[in-house]
Amino acid sequence: MGPIIPINDISTELNYLIAFLIGIGFGFALEQAGFSSSRKLAGMFYGYDTVVLKVFFTAAITAMLGLVFLNHFRMIDLSIVYVNEYYIESAIIGGVIMGVGFIVGGFCPGTGICAAAIGKLDAMAFLGGSLLGILLFGETYSLWEGIYMKSYLGGIKLSEVIGISDGLLVLAIIGAAVLMFWVGEWAEKRFQRPDITKDI
Protein backbone atom coordinates (compact mmCIF):
# COMPACT_ATOMS: atom_id res chain seq x y z
CA MET A 1 0.00 0.00 0.00
CA GLY A 2 1.40 3.31 -1.02
CA PRO A 3 2.70 5.86 -0.47
CA ILE A 4 5.13 3.51 1.20
CA ILE A 5 7.38 5.82 3.19
CA PRO A 6 4.82 8.00 5.04
CA ILE A 7 2.57 5.03 5.83
CA ASN A 8 5.30 2.79 7.15
CA ASP A 9 7.26 5.45 9.02
CA ILE A 10 10.47 4.61 7.23
CA SER A 11 13.64 6.18 8.57
CA THR A 12 14.82 9.54 7.32
CA GLU A 13 18.11 8.15 6.02
CA LEU A 14 16.36 5.65 3.76
CA ASN A 15 13.95 8.38 2.70
CA TYR A 16 16.89 10.55 1.62
CA LEU A 17 18.50 7.65 -0.18
CA ILE A 18 15.29 7.11 -2.11
CA ALA A 19 15.13 10.84 -2.82
CA PHE A 20 18.63 10.59 -4.25
CA LEU A 21 17.73 7.60 -6.43
CA ILE A 22 14.54 9.24 -7.67
CA GLY A 23 16.59 12.34 -8.40
CA ILE A 24 18.96 10.27 -10.53
CA GLY A 25 16.00 9.00 -12.53
CA PHE A 26 14.63 12.50 -12.85
CA GLY A 27 17.93 13.95 -14.02
CA PHE A 28 18.54 11.08 -16.41
CA ALA A 29 15.10 11.45 -18.00
CA LEU A 30 15.45 15.22 -18.34
CA GLU A 31 18.87 14.99 -19.92
CA GLN A 32 17.89 12.19 -22.28
CA ALA A 33 14.89 14.21 -23.42
CA GLY A 34 17.18 17.07 -24.36
CA PHE A 35 16.13 19.44 -21.60
CA SER A 36 19.76 20.22 -20.97
CA SER A 37 19.77 22.43 -24.04
CA SER A 38 18.27 25.86 -23.64
CA ARG A 39 17.75 26.37 -27.35
CA LYS A 40 15.87 23.09 -27.52
CA LEU A 41 13.70 24.24 -24.62
CA ALA A 42 13.09 27.64 -26.16
CA GLY A 43 12.24 26.00 -29.46
CA MET A 44 8.87 25.21 -27.94
CA PHE A 45 7.90 28.88 -28.13
CA TYR A 46 9.00 29.33 -31.74
CA GLY A 47 7.65 26.03 -33.00
CA TYR A 48 10.89 24.61 -34.35
CA ASP A 49 11.27 22.06 -31.58
CA THR A 50 8.31 21.07 -29.41
CA VAL A 51 10.13 18.53 -27.28
CA VAL A 52 9.10 20.37 -24.09
CA LEU A 53 5.44 20.01 -24.91
CA LYS A 54 5.79 16.34 -25.78
CA VAL A 55 7.86 15.35 -22.76
CA PHE A 56 5.96 17.49 -20.29
CA PHE A 57 2.54 16.26 -21.26
CA THR A 58 3.57 12.64 -21.79
CA ALA A 59 5.12 12.63 -18.32
CA ALA A 60 2.15 14.33 -16.68
CA ILE A 61 -0.28 11.95 -18.36
CA THR A 62 1.76 8.87 -17.48
CA ALA A 63 1.81 9.91 -13.83
CA MET A 64 -1.87 10.92 -13.84
CA LEU A 65 -2.98 7.63 -15.37
CA GLY A 66 -0.70 5.77 -13.00
CA LEU A 67 -2.17 7.51 -9.97
CA VAL A 68 -5.75 6.94 -11.12
CA PHE A 69 -5.11 3.23 -11.69
CA LEU A 70 -3.06 2.75 -8.54
CA ASN A 71 -5.85 4.41 -6.61
CA HIS A 72 -8.42 2.18 -8.26
CA PHE A 73 -6.53 -0.95 -7.29
CA ARG A 74 -6.03 0.47 -3.79
CA MET A 75 -2.30 0.53 -4.11
CA ILE A 76 -1.99 4.17 -3.15
CA ASP A 77 -3.93 6.33 -0.75
CA LEU A 78 -4.49 9.56 -2.64
CA SER A 79 -5.72 11.30 0.48
CA ILE A 80 -2.16 11.27 1.81
CA VAL A 81 -0.46 12.25 -1.41
CA TYR A 82 0.54 15.89 -1.45
CA VAL A 83 -1.74 18.07 -3.58
CA ASN A 84 -0.30 21.49 -4.26
CA GLU A 85 -1.99 24.17 -2.24
CA TYR A 86 -3.81 26.78 -4.22
CA TYR A 87 -3.45 30.47 -3.57
CA ILE A 88 -5.03 32.16 -6.60
CA GLU A 89 -3.03 35.38 -6.67
CA SER A 90 0.36 33.99 -5.86
CA ALA A 91 -0.01 31.07 -8.30
CA ILE A 92 -0.86 33.39 -11.20
CA ILE A 93 1.66 36.12 -10.36
CA GLY A 94 4.38 33.57 -9.69
CA GLY A 95 3.53 31.75 -12.91
CA VAL A 96 3.70 34.94 -14.97
CA ILE A 97 7.07 35.90 -13.49
CA MET A 98 8.36 32.38 -14.11
CA GLY A 99 7.05 32.55 -17.69
CA VAL A 100 9.09 35.69 -18.37
CA GLY A 101 12.05 34.12 -16.63
CA PHE A 102 11.69 31.04 -18.84
CA ILE A 103 11.79 32.92 -22.13
CA VAL A 104 14.61 35.20 -20.95
CA GLY A 105 16.75 32.59 -19.25
CA GLY A 106 15.86 29.54 -21.28
CA PHE A 107 15.78 27.11 -18.37
CA CYS A 108 13.69 26.23 -15.40
CA PRO A 109 15.40 25.17 -12.16
CA GLY A 110 15.12 21.42 -12.82
CA THR A 111 16.44 21.59 -16.36
CA GLY A 112 19.02 24.17 -15.31
CA ILE A 113 20.48 21.78 -12.75
CA CYS A 114 20.50 19.04 -15.35
CA ALA A 115 22.23 21.23 -17.92
CA ALA A 116 24.75 22.46 -15.38
CA ALA A 117 25.60 18.82 -14.67
CA ILE A 118 26.83 18.34 -18.23
CA GLY A 119 28.81 21.54 -18.26
CA LYS A 120 26.54 24.19 -19.76
CA LEU A 121 27.89 27.53 -18.56
CA ASP A 122 24.67 29.41 -19.25
CA ALA A 123 22.83 26.93 -17.03
CA MET A 124 25.25 27.64 -14.20
CA ALA A 125 24.65 31.35 -14.67
CA PHE A 126 20.93 30.68 -14.63
CA LEU A 127 21.20 28.75 -11.37
CA GLY A 128 23.24 31.54 -9.82
CA GLY A 129 20.56 33.96 -10.91
CA SER A 130 17.87 31.73 -9.39
CA LEU A 131 19.64 31.79 -6.04
CA LEU A 132 19.75 35.57 -6.28
CA GLY A 133 16.08 35.67 -7.16
CA ILE A 134 15.16 33.52 -4.19
CA LEU A 135 17.31 35.71 -1.94
CA LEU A 136 15.55 38.76 -3.38
CA PHE A 137 12.18 37.23 -2.58
CA GLY A 138 13.32 36.33 0.91
CA GLU A 139 14.59 39.83 1.61
CA THR A 140 11.45 41.52 0.28
CA TYR A 141 9.10 38.91 1.68
CA SER A 142 7.35 41.35 4.02
CA LEU A 143 6.22 43.34 0.96
CA TRP A 144 4.56 40.32 -0.63
CA GLU A 145 3.36 38.50 2.43
CA GLY A 146 -0.19 39.82 2.10
CA ILE A 147 -0.68 38.72 -1.47
CA TYR A 148 1.43 35.58 -1.00
CA MET A 149 -0.99 34.32 1.63
CA LYS A 150 -4.19 35.66 0.06
CA SER A 151 -7.14 33.56 -1.12
CA TYR A 152 -6.04 30.24 0.28
CA LEU A 153 -8.17 27.46 -1.13
CA GLY A 154 -6.23 24.48 0.20
CA GLY A 155 -5.11 21.52 -1.83
CA ILE A 156 -8.05 21.41 -4.20
CA LYS A 157 -8.21 19.42 -7.39
CA LEU A 158 -9.36 20.64 -10.75
CA SER A 159 -11.75 17.69 -10.97
CA GLU A 160 -13.44 18.87 -7.76
CA VAL A 161 -13.76 22.41 -9.09
CA ILE A 162 -15.36 21.29 -12.35
CA GLY A 163 -17.31 18.57 -10.61
CA ILE A 164 -16.32 15.56 -12.70
CA SER A 165 -14.55 12.37 -11.76
CA ASP A 166 -10.76 12.19 -11.83
CA GLY A 167 -10.84 9.65 -14.65
CA LEU A 168 -12.98 11.84 -16.87
CA LEU A 169 -10.70 14.82 -16.34
CA VAL A 170 -7.68 12.67 -17.20
CA LEU A 171 -9.41 11.59 -20.42
CA ALA A 172 -10.11 15.24 -21.28
CA ILE A 173 -6.48 16.16 -20.67
CA ILE A 174 -5.35 13.22 -22.79
CA GLY A 175 -7.63 14.40 -25.59
CA ALA A 176 -6.15 17.89 -25.38
CA ALA A 177 -2.61 16.47 -25.25
CA VAL A 178 -3.11 14.25 -28.28
CA LEU A 179 -4.30 17.32 -30.17
CA MET A 180 -1.31 19.33 -28.97
CA PHE A 181 1.10 16.58 -29.99
CA TRP A 182 -0.39 16.67 -33.45
CA VAL A 183 -0.16 20.47 -33.63
CA GLY A 184 3.38 20.27 -32.26
CA GLU A 185 4.58 17.91 -34.96
CA TRP A 186 2.85 20.03 -37.56
CA ALA A 187 4.58 23.13 -36.18
CA GLU A 188 7.94 21.41 -36.22
CA LYS A 189 7.55 20.91 -39.97
CA ARG A 190 6.08 24.35 -40.54
CA PHE A 191 8.69 26.32 -38.58
CA GLN A 192 11.52 23.95 -39.33
CA ARG A 193 14.99 25.43 -38.81
CA PRO A 194 17.52 22.83 -39.83
CA ASP A 195 20.39 25.16 -38.90
CA ILE A 196 19.32 25.24 -35.26
CA THR A 197 18.14 21.67 -34.85
CA LYS A 198 21.37 20.41 -36.38
CA ASP A 199 23.33 22.58 -34.02
CA ILE A 200 21.72 21.24 -30.87
Binding site: M1, L70, F73, R74, M75
Partner: protein, 136 residues
Protein backbone atom coordinates in the same frame (compact mmCIF):
# COMPACT_ATOMS: atom_id res chain seq x y z
CA UNK B 1 14.88 3.44 -30.96
CA UNK B 2 12.71 0.36 -31.12
CA UNK B 3 14.98 -1.41 -28.66
CA UNK B 4 14.74 1.54 -26.25
CA UNK B 5 10.96 1.33 -26.35
CA UNK B 6 11.11 -2.39 -25.77
CA UNK B 7 13.44 -2.01 -22.78
CA UNK B 8 11.31 0.71 -21.27
CA UNK B 9 8.20 -1.34 -21.83
CA UNK B 10 9.73 -4.29 -20.03
CA UNK B 11 10.82 -2.09 -17.12
CA UNK B 12 7.35 -0.59 -16.76
CA UNK B 13 5.56 -3.93 -16.96
CA UNK B 14 7.97 -5.34 -14.36
CA UNK B 15 7.34 -2.31 -12.15
CA UNK B 16 3.58 -2.73 -12.26
CA UNK B 17 3.86 -6.48 -11.77
CA UNK B 18 5.93 -5.83 -8.65
CA UNK B 19 3.31 -3.39 -7.34
CA UNK B 20 0.54 -5.92 -7.93
CA UNK B 21 2.49 -8.65 -6.14
CA UNK B 22 3.31 -6.35 -3.22
CA UNK B 23 -0.27 -5.21 -2.76
CA UNK B 24 -2.08 -8.47 -3.47
CA UNK B 25 -1.29 -9.65 0.05
CA UNK B 26 -3.33 -6.86 1.59
CA UNK B 27 -6.74 -7.92 2.81
CA UNK B 28 -9.48 -5.96 1.10
CA UNK B 29 -12.46 -4.71 3.00
CA UNK B 30 -15.88 -5.75 1.79
CA UNK B 31 -17.84 -3.02 3.56
CA UNK B 32 -20.77 -1.81 1.50
CA UNK B 33 -21.26 1.45 3.33
CA UNK B 34 -18.87 4.28 4.09
CA UNK B 35 -18.50 5.69 7.59
CA UNK B 36 -20.76 8.62 6.72
CA UNK B 37 -23.45 6.30 5.40
CA UNK B 38 -23.20 4.19 8.53
CA UNK B 39 -23.51 7.30 10.66
CA UNK B 40 -26.67 8.25 8.81
CA UNK B 41 -28.01 4.72 9.03
CA UNK B 42 -27.28 4.52 12.76
CA UNK B 43 -28.94 7.85 13.51
CA UNK B 44 -32.04 7.14 11.43
CA UNK B 45 -32.68 3.44 12.07
CA UNK B 46 -34.47 2.22 15.13
CA UNK B 47 -33.44 -1.39 15.27
CA UNK B 48 -34.03 -2.06 18.96
CA UNK B 49 -37.16 -4.01 19.67
CA UNK B 50 -38.87 -5.02 22.87
CA UNK B 51 -39.89 -8.60 23.71
CA UNK B 52 -43.57 -7.55 23.41
CA UNK B 53 -43.00 -6.37 19.83
CA UNK B 54 -41.14 -9.54 19.03
CA UNK B 55 -44.15 -11.61 20.00
CA UNK B 56 -46.18 -9.88 17.28
CA UNK B 57 -43.73 -10.73 14.54
CA UNK B 58 -44.77 -13.65 12.35
CA UNK B 59 -41.30 -14.89 11.62
CA UNK B 60 -37.88 -14.22 13.06
CA UNK B 61 -34.61 -15.88 13.97
CA UNK B 62 -33.13 -15.41 17.41
CA UNK B 63 -29.36 -15.18 17.55
CA UNK B 64 -27.54 -15.42 20.85
CA UNK B 65 -24.15 -13.72 20.77
CA UNK B 66 -22.74 -15.14 24.01
CA UNK B 67 -19.96 -17.67 24.36
CA UNK B 68 -21.03 -21.32 23.90
CA UNK B 69 -20.58 -22.11 27.59
CA UNK B 70 -23.02 -19.43 28.72
CA UNK B 71 -25.39 -20.50 25.95
CA UNK B 72 -25.43 -24.10 27.13
CA UNK B 73 -26.30 -23.11 30.69
CA UNK B 74 -29.38 -21.15 29.70
CA UNK B 75 -30.84 -19.83 26.50
CA UNK B 76 -34.11 -18.87 24.87
CA UNK B 77 -35.99 -21.48 22.91
CA UNK B 78 -35.16 -21.51 19.23
CA UNK B 79 -32.13 -19.27 19.66
CA UNK B 80 -29.07 -19.94 17.55
CA UNK B 81 -25.70 -19.48 19.19
CA UNK B 82 -23.22 -17.44 17.15
CA UNK B 83 -20.47 -16.11 19.41
CA UNK B 84 -19.38 -12.60 18.45
CA UNK B 85 -15.97 -13.93 17.46
CA UNK B 86 -17.56 -16.18 14.81
CA UNK B 87 -19.94 -13.61 13.40
CA UNK B 88 -18.03 -13.28 10.12
CA UNK B 89 -17.74 -17.02 9.48
CA UNK B 90 -18.76 -18.09 6.01
CA UNK B 91 -21.35 -20.57 7.26
CA UNK B 92 -23.57 -17.77 8.59
CA UNK B 93 -23.48 -15.62 5.45
CA UNK B 94 -26.59 -17.30 4.01
CA UNK B 95 -28.50 -16.74 7.22
CA UNK B 96 -27.63 -13.03 7.41
CA UNK B 97 -28.39 -12.53 3.74
CA UNK B 98 -31.86 -14.12 4.03
CA UNK B 99 -34.94 -11.93 4.34
CA UNK B 100 -35.99 -13.34 7.72
CA UNK B 101 -35.61 -10.75 10.51
CA UNK B 102 -32.58 -11.66 12.57
CA UNK B 103 -32.87 -10.71 16.22
CA UNK B 104 -29.71 -10.42 18.28
CA UNK B 105 -30.18 -11.03 21.96
CA UNK B 106 -28.36 -8.32 23.78
CA UNK B 107 -27.06 -9.91 26.91
CA UNK B 108 -24.13 -7.58 26.35
CA UNK B 109 -25.57 -4.45 24.76
CA UNK B 110 -22.18 -3.18 23.55
CA UNK B 111 -21.46 -6.27 21.52
CA UNK B 112 -25.00 -6.44 20.19
CA UNK B 113 -24.88 -2.87 18.88
CA UNK B 114 -21.41 -3.39 17.49
CA UNK B 115 -22.50 -6.55 15.73
CA UNK B 116 -25.45 -4.70 14.28
CA UNK B 117 -23.11 -1.96 13.00
CA UNK B 118 -20.63 -4.44 11.57
CA UNK B 119 -23.19 -6.56 9.73
CA UNK B 120 -25.17 -3.54 8.53
CA UNK B 121 -22.02 -2.05 7.13
CA UNK B 122 -21.46 -5.28 5.22
CA UNK B 123 -24.82 -4.65 3.59
CA UNK B 124 -27.01 -7.15 5.47
CA UNK B 125 -30.56 -6.07 6.23
CA UNK B 126 -33.41 -6.97 8.56
CA UNK B 127 -31.16 -6.99 11.60
CA UNK B 128 -32.66 -6.24 14.99
CA UNK B 129 -31.43 -6.07 18.55
CA UNK B 130 -33.49 -7.09 21.54
CA UNK B 131 -32.19 -5.82 24.83
CA UNK B 132 -32.32 -8.29 27.65
CA UNK B 133 -31.07 -8.33 31.15
CA UNK B 134 -28.97 -11.25 32.21
CA UNK B 135 -31.76 -12.61 34.45
CA UNK B 136 -34.35 -12.89 31.68
Amino acid sequence: MRSTILTLGIIMVAFFALLIIVTSGVEKSSFKHSAQEMHRLATTTDYVILPSELAKMPEYRLIDLRKPKAFIIAHKDGALNIPVSNILDDEFKMLFASAVPKVFLAHDPIHAHETWMLLSQLGYQNLLVMELLEED
